[in-house]
Chain length 227, copies 2
DNA sequence: GATTGTCAAATCGTCCCACAATCCTATACC
DNA sequence: GGTATAGGATTGTGGGACGATTTGACAATC
């Protein structure tokens, strides 16, 4: 259940909302609330977090929610309101389907040093988070790694697709009881993939590694994810 | 410039708006207005088509517009309102980038008879439209063909991505002066691709054909598309 | 004649309130 | 114990208000 205190508290933490347009930043905040798990999958998004946390009117919050519905982070049930999306097992399969399509193809794309750097930065961010036992950070870094990988394709559209798909995947983790350490064993594999592709420049091998990675992650996830 | 008469006229044509939720159907109508070219790229979407054409309040129309911004059909300029998106040349390149990613991969996917049927239905719809000199119909059928192709991948997410990308491509055509007959020469190639893939079952050959198709279409488009 | 400055009208972004439709809950009844 | 029902809460949408911003015209200045 959601209490007003919670949002008053968060609002105090994040400060008031200030920028030119109001809807986008409001949507950003809501998105973060969801991605970081402050709003659990299945949980209702009350109609007036707007006033309490975001400091925007009901209409405005609705616009923001509508955007997040479009991003598959929320669902809307008529006359019942907005809820944090609860991905099904099929959704998980589909997410990995898309990831295979994009990420494996990215292995075959060319790359420049800037792109390679972003990949390695993500790898290192993950390892650093691991050393600090910052599990949320590990998850974020992992997302970043895979976004960096798909960014090698150099398509703005694909980047946003990938961001959305990975955000949706976060919902899956928040819907599981114990997902904290899920990504830990995958960190070394991230590095291996990065080095195979970007240093050794053995794309086919990297593709095989990534295929294994995705297969393993999907299976492991589906093993514990409730229907 | 937009006149009220125009929307009154369209409203009479399309009838009043009726369904459970109101925003989605309103967005659907706006989307059609754009896809069918009644609203030209670059044109402003007045803040109150809502009342005049959609029969919804300003707030509601805003929500609908916001959705279409998310679909890349509209852009929003602060304090100036919503405009039909005007794709750049880079956008065109990126659209084809995504299409290659998806459609070429679809050549390698398996398929069932239902999927194959949808492809051939689209091919035939195109040929029929051609025989009736219905150029708009040819364009629609072509969209349908490529959606059917990418649907072979069997991913809900990819289907919607593809729909969006193709809708965006329509903007490109509406932004050109003379795009009527653009797709005519591509109809036989659609059939050839379909038969190579689904009847002869020569996926590599189909992939080559489709690669050629996409390369040609992109080049031909960029040749005439203004910067 | 071109640039700049000013001002009014139009439009936009947002908030606020109203009200019907719907859902939720708890109480009463069988 | 289960079902019906009434009342309250919440949602979806309409419509208006108001400040902020843009736009376009017109005057002032270089």
């Amino acid at each position: 259940m959601i209490t007003s205190d919670r949002f008053a508290e968060l609002r105090k933490l994040h400060g008031p909302l200030e920028r030119d347009s109001v809807v986008e930043p409001a949507a950003d905040r809501l998105r973060n609330l969801i991605i970081e798990g402050h709003l659990q999958p299945g949980e209702k998004v009350p109609d007036d977090i707007g006033k309490e946390y975001l400091g925007v009117a009901r209409n405005t919050q609705r616009e923001a929610c509508r955007m997040l519905v479009h991003e598959r982070l929320l669902t809307q049930q008529l006359n019942r309101g907005f809820f944090v999306r609860m991905p099904t097992r099929e959704d998980v399969g589909d997410v990995f389907h898309v990831r295979r399509l994009i990420e494996l193809q990215a292995m075959r794309a060319g790359f420049d040093t800037a792109g390679a750097n972003r990949v390695f930065e993500a790898v290192e961010a993950g390892e650093e988070a691991k050393s600090e036992l910052d599990f949320a950070g590990v998850g974020t870094a992992n997302m970043r790694f895979h976004r960096a990988i798909s960014a090698l394709l150099g398509s703005e559209r694909i980047n946003t697709m990938m961001s959305q798909v990975l955000a949706e995947l976060r919902l899956v983790f928040h819907a599981m009881s114990d997902a904290r350490e899920f990504y830990l064993p995958y960190l070394p594999r991230n590095r291996e993939i990065a080095e195979t592709l970007l240093v050794k420049r053995d794309a086919p091998a990297a593709e095989r590694l990534l295929t294994q990675y995705l297969d393993d992650a999907e299976r492991q996830l589906l093993d514990v994810y409730p229907g």
